[in-house]
Subunit: 439 residues, 2 copies
């Protein structure tokens, strides 16, 4: 085999598409702390062993649990219409008989925060902001704070429920779930996302100038805390076995779809990449995080449980962006020429893929936040997100959305990148303190 | 105004997009015989009067009624997975506790009919045939008999339930409803459509060779017969007032979506077209059929109630194919040179639109079947259906799927065609008996 073939080789075994399908079909949706999550953890242990990883083990932690129930909403007046909704997590359910009120529409979080509580009390807040379709995560990042902070903001104003336009640029009639921050200082209110066509319908109804009343039923409930686990395995290093290159993805998913893009595909990529690396200089550690979707509890647990060895983590990469092609790569590391050289060393490994030069940038997978905060250099192989949010967190996150050829190509990129990081000698140093704050 | 402008003019008033939105927003989904159907009938009467039509009136008839209830399905073993389903109409509901059984997958109606009843008894039949995406209705027509005849075929074999892959080429996770023929000789079984990704998931589960059990709950029920009505109005003719040009569309819709494409858009087109025709030679009669989706009861009622004057119907056109552009036009009429000349006369009116010549062909809207059977010439302005079935009969049939510019252009074509038919002198004769059988 010539050097290029060695560089590109992916060891025989199931493809990334096979592994994605296996997690989707044989486990299915797997919210953290659920029965399916336990099966996902077993699946991950089996797959890591099959991929030749060593020291494979779960790392348990306490997980919040939340369960969706029956849910529906309707405009009750002036014209009855069913609305497609999905509860956000961890929303409380509605009282017996449901929640009903006149709808107050707002076009921004600031507008909500400026409302007179008298205009909100007893009503339903409807936060309606279209998401832009962007190649990177810009479109999503612009609206994600609305979901994160909207429910508590509406509750503080005295609303009886909170509705948000789904964070997607797709007009398919499927609502998109997601999590929000609970404000311990105010009782939670039933909070749900509307599918985009339903947000548009509600918007048009309100625009006609007649008061619009909505009724909704959310059967969801917050369950007692349970158990989940990250799953960890390694390809032990040789000459620099004490240095750790972390390859991450997340095992848990939202409940509406099957978590094919988010994040079975990422799990598959890092399993194939690890299997394809033999006798690396540094230790390659695969971490399949849990509870990414509902609080990043796995990310915090990993950082706490491995606090003592974080200074030996030389680079961390998480894949959690679907199956579309990589369009840029970035590394957040120490400033200066030593890290520059280490970045060039990594970049050389990606030459065959025709990608742009690795830039210095702040993006990274959500589970790497606590590592970044500890100074661990983080990398991003950024995938085109133009269509990623069409399915994200919705029932449409199925095997049918997987772009198989692209998934395999991205897996080859991850493999080459991870192999270069594992065999490299470059020193990315530590992220300087002023760049460690989480996104 | 020059001749071309007269030819193309559409009288001032709400656009077809406005009228589509009005029916969607102010009435919503409107199954025949439902409370919303009554509101749709009122809406139609109001809109016909506003469009300047005369002799506007409802023509009541007895309508079957069927109501969807709560519905869900899941693979219970070997791996639990939720399945997205929608009951077909007029399915019976499941018994208390739901229906459960091992799934028998078949790839054609013939394969189902050849199954040994012993292999079906107590099981769930799953008819899984992908639909092709075609420009015309060919893709749909190839699979429509599966839904029409599948439930009864499965019931005759002793199945406890019937599942069919949705009749769509879209892989969005939304099931597509539709109707089927009840066999009075065999008790009905719960019958539902699976969204395409769920059909694929179920297919993969079965392909792994382990028995797959599914449980489903359908809360739907057949209600006592109710009332519905076609809504009829006219632009009275002048010199040939006794000759009737019928412009049709259907008022009712499926319940899952809002019937924007199917068929608020068609309703809007014919209302705008009629409004734009002043002092025609022949009488232009707009018929908004009802119960198209659930048995074509309105079509039969119209033909029966107008039996005595069907020989004065010189041409009938129904618009019921969404909002995409027209790509061919056909007329089914008498053979021979007189009808040829009449067809050329109609074709001349469409010159400005750059459409191909009108051909002789058998296509027509579903509500025109009884008129065709009586010999009334029928026309088709065939719209591109490449994406029509993505939303058809699903929750996704919303205002967001309306291509507004195209809708207005098709409306202009319908207007020009109707005006030519109403002012023409050509004689299309009668459809010869051998061509009168319904599709």
């Amino acid at each position: 085999m010539n050097a290029l073939l060695v560089l590109l080789a992916v060891a025989a075994g199931p493809t990334a598409t096979d592994l994605t399908r296996s997690l989707v079909d044989e486990v299915g949706p797997r919210p953290s702390g659920s029965e399916a999550d336990a099966r996902a953890i077993d699946w991950a242990i089996r797959q890591m062993k099959a991929a030749g990883l060593q020291r494979v083990h779960p790392e348990p932690f306490a997980s919040p649990r939340w369960q969706r129930g029956e849910e529906w909403a309707e405009i009750v007046s002036p014209v009855p219409q069913r609305l497609a909704i999905a509860a956000l997590g961890p929303s409380v359910g509605t009282p017996p008989g449901g929640a009903e009120g006149e709808v107050v529409e707002v076009a921004s979080l600031q507008a909500l925060e400026q409302l007179d509580p008298a205009a909100v009390k007893g009503r339903i807040v409807f936060l309606n902001v279209p998401m832009q379709r962007t190649r990177g995560f810009e479109g999503y990042h612009a609206v994600a704070p609305l979901r994160r902070n909207g429910p508590a903001a509406a509750a503080r104003k005295g609303a009886v429920a909170f509705l948000i336009r789904s964070l997607t640029a797709s007009s398919a009639r499927l609502p998109h779930a997601g999590s929000f921050r609970v404000d311990p200082g105010v009782p939670g209110i039933p909070s749900a996302a509307l599918a985009v066509p339903d947000a548009e319908l509600l918007h048009r109804a309100i625009a006609r100038g007649v008061p619009v009343r909505v009724r909704l039923h959310l059967g969801c409930r917050v369950l007692p805390e349970g158990r989940s686990a990250n799953v960890v395995g390694e390809i032990p290093g040789g000459g620099a076995a004490g240095e750790i290159v972390l390859l991450g993805a997340h095992l848990d998913s939202w409940d509406l779809g099957q978590g094919a893009l988010d994040d079975a595909a990422g799990v598959a990529m890092v399993l194939v990449a690890a299997r394809s690396i033999s006798a690396p200089r540094r230790t390659v550690r695969v971490v399949l995080f849990n509870n990414e979707e509902a609080g990043l509890g796995g990310a915090r647990a990993y950082a706490e449980q491995h606090r003592a060895e974080l200074d030996r983590h030389v680079l961390a990469l998480e894949m959690d962006h679907g199956t579309s092609p990589v369009f840029y790569q970035s590394v957040l590391a120490a400033p200066g020429p030593a890290a520059d050289a280490a970045i060039r060393e990594l970049g050389a490994a990606l030459k065959p893929f025709g990608l742009p030069e690795i830039i210095r940038g702040k993006d990274h997978g959500a589970d790497l936040g606590p590592l970044r905060a500890a100074g661990v250099p983080v990398a991003m192989l950024a995938q085109d997100s133009s269509t990623y949010f069409d399915a994200h967190h919705s029932a449409d996150d199925t095997m049918d959305r997987v772009e198989a050829a692209s998934l395999e190509q991205v897996t080859a990129v991850v493999t080459a990148f991870a192999r270069a990081a594992a065999n490299g000698k470059g020193d990315l140093g530590r992220i300087p303190p002023e760049l460690r704050e989480d996104r």
